[in-house]
């Protein structure tokens, strides 16, 4: 089982921590930032398995992708990750720790590695709706 499982565990712990006495949810929505290229199917499977083992039911478990947009801190240029061609090995390194993107990606306009990830970095919980 790949490292998506570890992230799924974190999400479930997060939900449990925020709703300690609730085990029925209407909806949980997770956003997957494009930069981290998380495998949606594997994360979804991991989430379902862990939720089941915790006796937590979710009517609607939604996983959506968020496009990655980067902005250069030196020249201000903004670009989409899709505009770049990255080698598979680089994509895999970024998959584990998204910040290593700064080792491999440079601003297409000025060549700076000093950029910010405006959106689409990694995994985050967008919405949790419990049954009251």
């Amino acid at each position: 089982m790949v490292h998506e499982w570890a992230l799924a565990e974190a999400i479930v712990e997060y939900v449990k921590s925020n709703y300690p006495n609730i085990n029925k949810f209407k909806r949980i929505e997770i956003l997957l930032g494009e930069l981290q290229s998380i495998d949606e199917e594997i994360l979804g499977f991991s989430l379902k398995e862990i939720l089941k083992s915790e006796n937590i039911t979710v009517d609607e478990l939604v996983l959506g992708e968020e496009e990655a947009v980067l902005r250069c801190r030196r020249c201000g240029h903004e670009w989409r990750l899709k505009e770049l061609k990255l080698e598979d090995e680089v994509k895999e390194a970024i998959h584990f720790v998204p910040e290593v993107a700064h080792s491999f990606i440079k601003c297409p306009k000025c060549g700076s590695r000093d950029f910010e990830v405006v959106r689409g970095r990694g995994v985050y919980v967008k919405e949790v709706i419990p049954y009251e």
Binding site: M1, V2, A10, P98, V100, V125, E127
Partner: protein
């Protein structure tokens, strides 16, 4: 549904929710810290890991000098391959020490990061790293009092920082500020102070330790040949530096909290 039933997004970071679980099999966490650069934190971290391993303990070493990781160089770790995955990342066993570093992913390329990115990288690494049963987790940290240091002090409960100083007045001035900062953290109980590059204990460092009620763990003599041993654990083990550090490791083992 009432508004207050909704989670305020960003209130807590999911990745920190699993930190206790990730460290559940780790008995003692020893961050090696010094606000002064060049005092030998990385070599002390690596040497201490090997010395504790040689005393028969299970040891992990985590390099949290995110923008300038170098513990892998000192320990002679190949970063050619990504670590194996098994419901997270399993730190590879290197010379008997479980070793984790961002360098497995950034390789030999520069990794220039600003504060929030450093914080994110640390959270990601802590969330996905599955440590085995460890008696000691040694953490190498960068100089300064910035993101890595603050994250170590904030995220780890019951850590026992080891502070590294040298007899230089510059180091004394810098380390004093770290000791002052540590007073603010109930979660960090300083284990002691190591005086590196000192042929004998100096009164200045011993007084500093006494002033902050921190144990003076010992001095490590200057070892002009230590740079020739970097990258080869067997050579490190044969050094004067390692002999002195091993005596300090004995003291750490005898200190049970």
């Amino acid at each position: 549904m009432s508004e207050n039933m909704k989670i305020k997004i960003g209130e807590k970071d999911p990745r920190l929710m699993v930190l206790d679980k990730r460290l559940s099999k780790v008995k003692r966490i020893l961050p090696v810290m010094s606000s002064k650069g060049g005092v030998g934190k990385t070599l002390v971290s690596v040497g201490l890991s090997l010395a504790l391993k040689d005393l028969g303990y299970q040891v992990g070493l985590l390099d949290l000098d995110i923008t300038n990781p170098s513990a892998h160089v000192a320990l002679g770790v190949s970063i050619e391959k990504f670590p194996e995955e098994e419901k997270g990342i399993r730190p590879p066993l290197v010379n008997g020490v479980e070793f984790m570093s961002v360098a497995y992913y950034s390789g030999d390329s520069p990794l220039p990061l600003r504060g929030s990115d450093i914080d994110n990288a640390i959270k990601e690494i802590l969330a996905i790293t599955i440590w085995g049963s460890l008696d000691f987790l040694i953490i190498d940290s960068p100089p300064g009092l910035s993101d890595e240091v603050l994250d170590i002090l904030s995220f780890f409960k019951n850590s026992e920082p080891i502070i590294v100083a040298t007899p230089s007045p510059l180091a004394v001035n810098s380390v004093r500020k770290l000791l002052e900062l540590l007073k603010d953290y109930n979660s960090a109980n300083p284990l002691g102070l190591i005086e590196n590059m000192a042929d004998q204990p100096s009164q200045t460092i011993e007084s500093l330790a006494a002033k902050y009620s921190v144990q003076y763990l010992g001095n490590i003599r200057k070892d002009p040949r230590i740079d020739y041993n970097i990258g080869d654990p067997e050579k490190i083990r044969g050094s004067k530096f390692f002999k002195d550090l091993s005596e300090i490791a004995q003291k750490i083992v005898q200190n049970s909290f």
